[in-house]
Structures are given as C-alpha cells and as structure tokens.
Amino acid sequence: MSTRRHLIVPGLVWAVLSIAADLTLTHLNLPPGYATTTAAGQSVTGQVFSMISATVGIAVVVFAVYFLVVFRGRPGDAGDGPPVRGDVRLQSGWLVLSTVIVLFAAAYGSIELEGQVTPQLVVPASQYHSAATRHPLIVQVIGQQWQWTYRYPQYGGFESPVIRIPANRLVQFDVTSLDVIHGWWAYTLGIKVNAEPGVNNVGYVYALKPSRFIVECSSLCGLWHGYMRNTGAQDGEVLSQSAFASWVKGAQRYYGPEDKYLPKFALVYYPSPTTY
C-alpha cells in the first residue's frame, strides 16, 4: 500500500473528470450571450472561470473523498494515525500554486475589465478610430420611484419611457437617479450601472445586431422595485441605424409637446428642496 498509489489513483480520476468537465464547458454557451461586445466578454470570462473552478474543485473533492474512503478507521480499531504535523514542501507548494491561480484570475479579470469600461476597447477593432467612437450616442437613463425614463440629448433632449438604441454604434449611458439608489440592469446587453442621486455613472455598450432586451432594477429601491423594469410590451430594442433614426423622428413628434417643461439637459438633477 504505497504512498504513490494513494496519489496516482485519485490523480488519474481527477485528470479524467476535470478534462471531461472542461471540454463540456467549452461547448457551453453561458449567459448573458453575445448581443453586445461587453456581454460576449462576460460570457467568455464566465466560461474561463467555470473551467478554472471545475478543475480546482474536482481536484479537492476527488482527493478528499478518496482519502475519506480509503483511510477510514476499521471497525474495532480505536488506534490513532501517524503523528504527521506538516510538510514544508507540500505547504509552500500549495501556497505557490494557489497564488499562481489567483494571479492569473486577477490579471485576466483586470484586462477584461479594461475592455469593458474603455470606449476604444468596447468597440470592435475596426472601429477604434471612427468618428462614431469618438462621439458615441449618449442616452441618459433616469431612475425614479418606480420607472425608468430615457433622454436623448443629441436629439433635442426629448424624454421617453421606452429605450431604443442603434446596433453597430457605440452607446454611452449616463445613468442617474432622482430620488434613491436604483440599479439599471440591461441583462442581455451585459451592462449594469447603479443609478444614484446626485451622481452620473457612465457605461458603454456596442450592440452587434438588432435584438430585444429587458431592463430590470438591480438595487432595492422601495415598494415597486421588482416592477421597475422594461419587459413585455415595454421591452428595450436594439434597432438598425435606419430604424433607429425613424424611431427618433416619431418619438420627437409624440413626446415633443413635453419638451418645453423638461429641465435643461444635465448630468444630474437635484429635486426641489426636500419636502418634509
């Protein structure tokens, strides 16, 4: 009953299982999907992290289960095991290994993060220096208890209860709130930005193809928090450039009469002094 055997057997099991798991994961399409560049990045990141965790987790589980089964005390044997207290090489090896994994995860995540928050990296390579990237479409998201409204400052600053954005163009969301903290979450677009009163939070999206998306509130904001969303008839839509242009025209016509009442476009809106 050699030491080597007790390491090789579970080692082989681990190799087989983890390879199988990782292969399955490579064929898995994880949410949020591939509607935008950022969403795609998140899906891939999810895959990578699932593979890392599967490999690590399976290793621990397999070895632990194997040891628990093989080294169980025989019935009637009340004796003790060998007094092993530690092993310098094993312990330092363990630390080094986990540090390497963690460093990889951190580096990968940091690079991926840059690709999600810097406008030049959100757009596809071909678009790096295009004018559209330097002047993205600005959509202001205004959270209030309990509805999202959207302003389009580059189109006369009209406001709309529904959101439409064009595909294949960099969109910059300026998210703010009129009262409490909301969380603007367009799940399939792969963007989630908190709407905070007195704060302008910025997020970027580059949609790859026309699609419909839902918007939910991800930060508890009171009674109708769960209903503060654009779903069903109120779905958000990614439109082709031309369809977006015509939608803007219609919206300006329909919501135009309100414009004279709206405050001048600003990054944050402070409510009138609090009414107690």
Binding site: R85, G86, D87, V88, Q91, G198, Y270
Partner: protein, 221 residues
C-alpha cells in the same frame, strides 16, 4: 513546517493557583482598555470619513451653503483645552500612584481633573446651543453637530470614569486592600488601582488625540 515539539516538561512552570494571580488580574483592564480604544477609534472613523467625502463631493454645492460658518472658535478651543488640561493633570499624578502614601494627593488632582472635564462639557453644550446654523443646513452642519455631540458624550463618560477612579483612591487611602496569595486562597485579589489608573490614562490620551483632530477638522478645514 513542523509545529513546536508539544511534549515539554512542566518543571519550569509556576503551577496554577486556586485563583488567578494578581499579575493576571492587573493585566485585564489594560488589555481591555486597548481594545476599547480600538473600538472607539472605529466609532469615530465614520464622522471624519463623512466630513472629507461630503466636502470633496459637495453635492448640489450644499456642503457649506452661504451663511454657514464654524461657530465660535474661542469656545471650541476652550473646551478642547479643558479636556487636555484635565488629562495632563491626571497623567502627571498617575505615575506617582505606586506608593500608598500618594493616594490622597491623587484624590486632590483627580477632583480638579473632574472639574475641568465638566467645564469642557459645559463649554461644548454652550457651543452647540449658539451654533448660528441648524443641523439641517448642509453636510458640514450635520457633521459638526453629530461629531460634537458624540465627543461631548464621550467626555462626560470620561468624567464619570475619573470620578470612580478618584473615589477608589480615596477608599484605598482609608482602608488598604490586602493582596491574596493565589496558591493558598481561592479569593481573587481586587484589581490594583495602578492598573485602573493606567487604563484610564490610555483611554483619556486617546480621547485627547481624537479631540484635537476633530478640533482641527471642524474649525479649520
């Protein structure tokens, strides 16, 4: 990484007694006070954090609206000076506590220190009642009132602590307290007054530092 050999002979060790030894008893208030200082430090952190975050973000330009200025610097300085004076007085007299004979002199300085602390509390209350602005007037007003009230309460508690310490000194000067031998008696010795005084000193020095810092922050930044 083998942990230290567990089977050491116990011959070197002083065998345990029927009660905890006076040395252990004396260390309890010191350690406890250091932890109390840590907890109090983190009680104070949010006030300063709030001050600097609100000052830097200055939302709606309402951190210090027009007409909101720090109240009388003189009174604030007097309050702080009283606290510092009291603490300085005690810190001079505490090291001389060792001998039973100096107990009575400690009592005298203790009462003076108490009066100074009470004076500080009074000054702070006067200050808070003549602010010139209300707690509703922006971020600075809120921080000023909240921090001053909190600090005043702490100073009041410190005064109570000093009262108890001074009375203890007086009590011991009248009836000295016997120290028990843990090897023979299972009745614990009382906490020695030197330990109590030292822990008072630790905490009061912390409060002095906190007071000085908040004085700078609230009146000059």
């Amino acid at each position: 990484m083998i942990s230290q050999s567990p089977t050491g002979s116990s011959s070197r060790l002083q065998p345990g007694g029927l009660a905890h030894s006076p040395e252990e008893i004396a260390r309890i208030p010191l350690v406890g006070t250091w932890l109390l200082v840590g907890a109090n430090f983190f009680l104070l952190v949010p006030f300063f954090y709030a001050f600097f975050l609100l000052q830097s973000s200055n939302d709606n330009h309402a951190f210090k609206p027009h007409g909101v200025h720090p109240p009388s610097l003189a009174i604030g300085t007097i309050a702080l000076a009283l606290v510092l004076g009291s603490i300085a007085l005690t810190s001079i007299s505490v090291p001389r506590l060792r001998a039973q004979t100096t107990l009575s002199s400690f009592v005298a300085s203790g009462w003076v220190g108490i009066l100074l602390l009470v004076g500080a509390v009074v000054a702070q209350i006067w200050q808070l009642s003549h602010l010139g602005f209300g707690i509703v007037d922006g971020g600075f007003a809120s921080v000023f009132v909240a921090l001053s009230v909190f600090y005043t309460i702490e100073v009041g508690v410190l005064a109570l602590w000093l009262i108890s310490l001074t009375n203890r000194a007086g009590y011991e000067s009248r009836h000295p307290i016997a120290v028990m031998d843990p090897q023979r008696s299972s009745v614990e010795s009382p906490t020695p007054i030197t330990a109590l005084a030292t822990s008072y000193l630790i905490f009061s020095c912390f409060l002095a530092a906190a007071g000085a810092i908040s004085w700078v922050v609230l009146y000059f930044l």
